[in-house]
């Protein structure tokens, strides 16, 4: 569903996640599909600690039915997103170091700082390490607040 910029920005500013895991994928990307169950498992495991998972499909808009079918088959019920701008702007906005290879995964802490980024299929140990780091940053911020 297309959404105006102000609505999305308002959504972003309302977020209260302690950490955010962003994954860019596509239905025709085999490693993307392969890593999906791991992402969902970790998202469920870390959700009580404040992790939010943002799934971003890089499919073309005419693939939307296939995107929906895949997400439904994976048991995804939360809102998912669809890339809706040219590749280069999209890639550089996420990370100038991202080549554009899929899948791509980005971990942010509660302040919106990018803690980790990598291209290609996610590795569980690396994901866990990044998520712990992101969550720890938020915790240390809370500990130091008056």
């Amino acid at each position: 569903m297309p959404a105006p910029a102000r609505e999305i920005l308002a959504l972003a500013s309302r977020r209260r996640a302690r950490a955010t895991l962003v994954n860019v994928w596509a239905t025709w990307c085999v490693p993307c599909r392969e890593e999906f169950p791991l992402l969902l498992r970790l998202a469920r495991e870390y959700e009580p600690r404040g992790l939010e998972l943002l799934l971003v499909s890089a499919d073309f808009d005419d693939r939307l039915p296939a995107v929906r079918r895949f997400l439904a088959a994976q048991g995804v019920t939360d809102t998912s997103y669809l890339k809706a701008e040219d590749d280069m702007s999209f890639i550089d906005a996420l990370s100038p170091r991202w080549s554009g290879a899929l899948p791509a995964t980005f971990v942010y802490d509660g302040a919106g700082r990018q803690i980790a980024f990598w291209e290609g299929k996610a590795d569980e140990a690396r994901l866990r390490k990044s998520l712990e780091e992101a969550l720890a940053k938020r915790s240390s911020m809370e500990d130091s607040s008056p």
Partner: protein, 209 residues
């Protein structure tokens, strides 16, 4: 049923506060860098061995990391063939390199490469990077990914093919074609760095030295 929403502004909101990241992303060649591994022998689909140095043209060399299975490659492959074949006639050598591990995607095997090269009418080598070390040396991360070097061997263009993978007739920015033509004509490359989504290169495991 999950709902799907457009996302861009959310990205902008997050990405503006990017900090240093801990990632294994390979360091990619920068503009002006020399082509690495020019003397490494690579197996071509014609059964012969060839090096990047041997594939070089008088005016420069176009290297495209490619493969068979990737949907993005499939969308661009006819354009890559046209640009590459034309480049040969303009004095720019061309070589397409498949660095993917075919155990991940059998479609990327050598026999399948031979078939694809014939189907596309490639007039340039399509070779196997049997250790994926060439991709590592270039810092190539996706397919297709193009590196264009001038006659001195310096990188003058790095990036994608054009701005519309899906529809060649709707291309507004034929970046790679423009870069090759500019190089061949002795002009500066108009847009030297571009990006697009693509398949991650399935590197082979490093072998113990």
């Amino acid at each position: 049923m999950s709902s799907i929403r457009l996302l861009i502004p959310l990205f902008v909101a997050i990405a503006t506060s990017t900090a240093a990241a801990d990632d294994p992303t390979p360091k990619t060649l920068g503009l002006g860098d020399l082509a690495p591994m020019r003397q490494v022998s690579l197996k071509n689909v014609d059964g012969r061995q060839i090096t990047i140095a041997e594939a070089a043209g008088k005016k420069g060399t176009l290297i495209v990391f490619s493969c068979n299975h990737c949907p993005w490659v499939k969308m661009w492959q006819k354009r890559i063939a046209r640009i590459g074949n034309a480049a040969i006639g303009q004095g720019v050598g061309v070589i397409a390199i498949n660095s993917n591990d075919p155990s991940e995607f059998p479609e990327d095997g050598f026999d399948e490469m031979k078939v694809r090269a014939k189907q596309l009418g490639l007039r340039f080598p399509y070779v196997v990077d049997e250790t994926s070390e060439v991709a590592r040396a270039f810092g190539a991360a996706r397919t297709p990914e193009a590196f264009l070097f001038d006659a001195e061997g310096k990188l003058v263009y790095h990036g994608t093919i054009d701005d519309n993978a899906r529809d060649g007739r709707a291309v507004k920015q034929p970046w790679l074609k423009q870069a090759v033509e500019a190089l061949a004509a002795g002009r500066a490359v108009p847009t030297a760095e571009t990006k697009a989504l693509g398949c991650s290169i399935k590197l082979r495991e490093k072998t113990a030295s």
